[in-house]
Amino acid sequence: MSTSREPRPYVNPYVAGTLLGVVLFLSLYVTGGGLGASAAMSRVQTGVLDLVAPGHVDRVAYFAEMAGGARSPWAHYSIYMLVGTVLGGFVSGLWNRRVKLETRKGPRISVHARWGFALLGGLIMGYGARLARGCTSGQALSGGAVLSVGSWAFAMAVFASAYAVAWFLRRLWI
C-alpha cells in the first residue's frame, strides 16, 4: 500500500448509514442481539485486570461476573465482534488509503493536548457507557433500532449534553 497516494473520499453518509443499518439488521436477525463496543471493552479491561490481580477480580462483584474464578472474560461474543470491528475498520481503511499513523485534532490545540483530552474524554465516556449500560453503538444504535424507550432517552441525553457543552469547549475543535 502506498501512503503517498491521497486517501479516497468518505462515501455518501446516507450510503454508509444504509450499510450500517443493514449490518445492524443482520446482527439482530441472525443473533437476536445488536451491535456493540463497550461490553467488549469492559471484558478486555477485566481480562487484563484478571492477569494482574485475579484475587481482586474475584472480590468485586462487577468483575467477578465476567472473570470470577475459572470464568474466562475472553470467550464471549462481544470479544469476537470487537476483533471483527478492528479488522473491518482496518481493511476499509487500507482499501481507502486511510491507514496512517497520525493524530487528528482541531486547529488550535497541540498534538499532546489532543492526546490528553482524548484520554480524559475516553475515561468519561467509558464510565458513562457502563452507567448507561451501553455506548452509542449498543444503546443508541441497537436499542434505537428496536425502539427501546430507554435507548431513545439515552440518545437524546447524549446529544443534548454534547450540544450544551460544545460551545464552552470550542477551543478544542474550531
Partner: protein, 439 residues
C-alpha cells in the same frame, strides 16, 4: 424462525466467526462513513459536518424498517430479539456524562476502535481512557448500586409507550430522522459555513430524496400491512411447539400444580380463562381471571413476559379448549414457562372434590369447556379444594357441618387429599438468553 440459537447450533469456531463477520461489517461501515476521523465526529456539534448524525440515524431508521418488515412477514420472532431494558435515569445520566466525554474526547467507544484500527493516535489514547473508565465504573458501581438499578421499566418500547401500532411508530421515527437530516443541512450551511439565511440552499439534495422516499414508502407499507396477530404467529412457529401440544407435554396434572404451589423455590401464576360467573362459583386460590383479549393487552402481558425464570404460568378453563387457545397466544407472544392445567377446573374438582352440599356433579370432566359441576352458591376460593396444598386452615368452615349431626362438633375443617400419581411436565426454562451488544 430467526433469530437463531447460535450457541446451540454452531461449533465454537463458527460461532466466533459469525460474530466476527458482523463486527467486520460494523467496523467497515463506520470507517467508510468517516467515523474514524475525530474532526468529523466533533464537527457535528459545531454544525461543521453533519455526517455522523446522518450515518447514525440512517442506520437506526433502516434497521428499524427492516426489523418491522421481517416481523410483518413472520420471518423474525421479535420476542427472542434483545431489546435493551429501560433503566430510565441511569441511562439519561450516563448519556449526559457521555455527551461531555464525546466533546472532550472526540469519539465514542465504537468509533475509537475504528480510529485505532486505522492507526489514529488520538483514537488509541481515547481507547485507553475508555478502558480506564470502564475499570473505574467496575470499582465504584458497588457504592451507586441503588441508583444504577433504579427506574427499571423492563422491556419497554416506543409503540407501547405511545400506544401506537409498530408501523406507525416506525413511520414517525423515519419522518423524524429525515427531517433532522434536512435541518442539519440547513444548520451546517448557516452556522458552519457562515452563510446568511438568504443564501442557504433550502432544497434537500438528491441523496436525501432517495433515502427519504424509500424509507417513507417502506414505512407506509408497514402501516397498511400491519403485524401478524398471535394466532398467525403461532402458525409459523416450528414443529417442536406443535409436537409439545400433540404429545400433551404442556398439559400439567392438577396434582403437579399443587406440588409446585408448595415449592418455595417456584412461583406459580394461575390465569383463569372462564367467565365471571363460573369464576365466582369456584376458582383455584390465587388465580386471576382474564380473557384472551385481555391477555394481549400490555397491562396483562408485560408482567407475564418479565417474570423471572422461576415463575410458572398455568392457564385454566373449565376444560382445556379455551386454555389451549390462550396457551398458543402467550407462546406466540414469547411468554416463557406457560402450561395448561390438564382437564381444567373439571379435572381439578375431580382430584380435589368439594362437599356434596356445595355442588352436584352434572357432567364428565371430559365435557370440554362446559362446567362438570353445578354449584349451589358462589364459593370463590373459600373451599378447601381451592387450596389443596394447605390441607387445613382455620378459615375453612364446613358448609355441611350443621346438617351433619354425627358428632363432629368442630367447624375446623381438616382435610387430607389422596396422593395422586402424575407425570412431571413442568421444566423451568429461562427465556432465550439473548443479550445485546453492550449487555
Amino acid at each position: 424462525m430467526a433469530p437463531f440459537d447460535l450457541a446451540a447450533s454452531l461449533g465454537p469456531v463458527a460461532y466466533a466467526l459469525v460474530f466476527g463477520a458482523i463486527g467486520f461489517g460494523f467496523g467497515a461501515a463506520l470507517e467508510m462513513g468517516g467515523f474514524g476521523d475525530t474532526r468529523k465526529l466533533a464537527g457535528q456539534f459545531y454544525f461543521q459536518d453533519m455526517t455522523v448524525l446522518k450515518v447514525m440515524f440512517t442506520g437506526i431508521a433502516v434497521a428499524a424498517v427492516l426489523v418491522a418488515l421481517a416481523t410483518s412477514f413472520g420471518l423474525l420472532d421479535m420476542s427472542r430479539v434483545f431489546v435493551n431494558p429501560t433503566y430510565l435515569w441511569p441511562g439519561i445520566v450516563g448519556g449526559l456524562i457521555m455527551g461531555v466525554g464525546f466533546v472532550i474526547g472526540g469519539f465514542c467507544p465504537g468509533t475509537s476502535i475504528v480510529a485505532a484500527s486505522t492507526l489514529k493516535v488520538d483514537g488509541i489514547f481515547f481507547l485507553l481512557g475508555a478502558l480506564g473508565g470502564v475499570w473505574l465504573f467496575g470499582e465504584t458501581v458497588g457504592s451507586i448500586q441503588g441508583f444504577w438499578l433504579s427506574s427499571y421499566m423492563g422491556r419497554f418500547t416506543l409503540p407501547e409507550w405511545l400506544g401506537l401500532p409498530l408501523g406507525v411508530t416506525v413511520l414517525l421515527v423515519v419522518v423524524m430522522a429525515v427531517a433532522l437530516f434536512w435541518a442539519g443541512d440547513l444548520a451546517q450551511q448557516h452556522f458552519g459555513q457562515k452563510r446568511p439565511w438568504a443564501e442557504v440552499v433550502k432544497g434537500p439534495g438528491r441523496g436525501w430524496q432517495v433515502l427519504a422516499g424509500a424509507l417513507v414508502a417502506a414505512s407506509l407499507f408497514l402501516v397498511v400491512r400491519g403485524q401478524p396477530d398471535p394466532e398467525a404467529k403461532f402458525a409459523r412457529m416450528g414443529p417442536a411447539v406443535k409436537k409439545a401440544v400433540a404429545e400433551r407435554e404442556i398439559f400439567v396434572d392438577p396434582a403437579e400444580v399443587v406440588a409446585l404451589r408448595k415449592d418455595i423455590g417456584v412461583q406459580v401464576v394461575l390465569v383463569d380463562l372462564r367467565d365471571e360467573r363460573d369464576f365466582n362459583l369456584f376458582h383455584v386460590g390465587g388465580s386471576r381471571r382474564a380473557t384472551l383479549a385481555e391477555l394481549e393487552s400490555p397491562e396483562r402481558l408485560k408482567p407475564l413476559l418479565d417474570q423471572p425464570p422461576t415463575t410458572v404460568t398455568f392457564l385454566i378453563g373449565n376444560g382445556e379448549a379455551e386454555a389451549l387457545r390462550a396457551w398458543r397466544q402467550l407462546t406466540a407472544l414469547g411468554v416463557p414457562n406457560v402450561y395448561v392445567v390438564d382437564g381444567g377446573v373439571n379435572r381439578w374438582l375431580e382430584r380435589y372434590p368439594v362437599e356434596a352440599c356445595v355442588a352436584d356433579r352434572i357432567g364428565k370432566a371430559e365435557a370440554g369447556d362446559a362446567p362438570a359441576w353445578r354449584f349451589r352458591y358462589a364459593t370463590g376460593s373459600t373451599q378447601p379444594a381451592a387450596w389443596p396444598e394447605l390441607g387445613s386452615s382455620p378459615s375453612f368452615r364446613s358448609p355441611c357441618g350443621e346438617a351433619a349431626a354425627d358428632g363432629h362438633g368442630s367447624t375446623h375443617h381438616a382435610r387430607t387429599w389422596p396422593a395422586h400419581a402424575y407425570t412431571k411436565r413442568v421444566k423451568l426454562k429461562s427465556k432465550a438468553a439473548v443479550k445485546g451488544g453492550c449487555g
